[in-house]
Symmetry: C2
Subunit: 281 residues, 2 copies
Amino acid sequence: EIVAALDTELSGNAEHNGALPLDASPEHDDHAPTPDAFMAHAPTAAGPLAGCHVVITAGPTREAIDPVRYLSNHSSGKMGFALAEAARDQGARVTLISGPVTLATPAGIHRVNVISAMEMLEAVNATLADCDIFIGCAAVADYRLEEVAEHKLKKVPGSTALTLNLIENPDIIAAVTHREQPPFTVGFAAETRELARHAHDKLVRKRLDLIVANDVATPGLGFGADDNAAVLYHLAASGSEAAVTSHTLSPRAKRALAQALLDYMLPLYRAHQPTRSPAAP
Amino acid sequence: EIVAALDTELSGNAEHNGALPLDASPEHDDHAPTPDAFMAHAPTAAGPLAGCHVVITAGPTREAIDPVRYLSNHSSGKMGFALAEAARDQGARVTLISGPVTLATPAGIHRVNVISAMEMLEAVNATLADCDIFIGCAAVADYRLEEVAEHKLKKVPGSTALTLNLIENPDIIAAVTHREQPPFTVGFAAETRELARHAHDKLVRKRLDLIVANDVATPGLGFGADDNAAVLYHLAASGSEAAVTSHTLSPRAKRALAQALLDYMLPLYRAHQPTRSPAAP
């Protein structure tokens, strides 16, 4: 019900991105297949992720200030979309929950469009029941406006300052990992400094199975770019929070990075699976 | 010098819009012609605006919060780009100063890309020396952050709120009209209510020659849409601030609306010209 409601926001959302030339392209099909049509494709899938439902969030979220203004960030959605394609090619059934971006929906992927962090949380909750792997790649706004103005805010004559009061958004990925039987969960950390410290901290605090750390201060990589590099961190087999294993993926196209990331993830996912199987004690 | 510096920001800017499919298109040529190549085309122009230099601002501005977050608005740039094309077709030499949008540069138009309101002001100032008509179509952010964080802001553990302190941006269009010999100046008012009152107030306060008022609360029109409607306001021939003439342009494609707007503007521009000619006393 929520997903259907969000789907109707699609065209308006694409408009807001000013994606006119894309709208005119027959390839730019934002209309996700119906769940029935989508499920019908599942049995034919093969590959290491066959039978696996992967849920991926992508892009930025936008937090409205008033009907015309918003807070957002530079996430383009390219990394999340590349991961969706890579997971599909490894046989997974993929749900891609995307903030406002100007990217076309990859073939065979169920896309759900959202604008704000609150909408993204609802869409994530609606897909978690049968989710095996959750990859939180979206750059979710940490804060939203305490109050969204119904009409366009006017400058106050004589006043040269304005204060925006923000409140914390829900932590979507922590909401996923704190469920009773959480899926295998991959998080992202986009940082401009102290990458390792922030990533390690986030890995433990958010109970992630794997974290992908990007240095977004590097020109040509990260936000908006076509290439990316990453350092992957996860707890060592001992499970101690002090023993973290890291693995560096050198700069390459986001599509190739996505593939390498899933290849590295696969044995970790397989080792993790039994502990949260419904059949386990 | 400023213009050249801004031009180098182009590719980074297009990246931030996530406009990958557009980047790949040979039509998406963000690289404006050199001033020499551009001027060489001027003598061949014919039409009611031949010999006239029209400067148009378009799109939103983005005001950085930190390296990854920003404030912006839903302007797509479509109306400003449509005006640039319409002015070019009427024989004008056109400079288009654009905020971050995903639109291709129309042929024969000199485009300058900017991100923030401060950058847009600098670019406008750099083009005003020989500007005959200035059309301020950009949705310039009224406020920017008092301080831009050098590194990504981190959530403060235990704190659930954040305050953003904003200060007023310079009023670009008022800076244009308050020059000693201002060009004929057209402003825009995008409102969600009390259109006529806000437009009249802005016309007088900002010393505009013409204001184009849009009701952006109407679905399918205005921000991001392909169609638009407008009410034009200008002072009646008496020049009294109490006597305002209005003219309604019904909903139509933005390109057609741009044409109609310039057609309506032309006699007002011609009537206005002598009073600010360098030859006048």
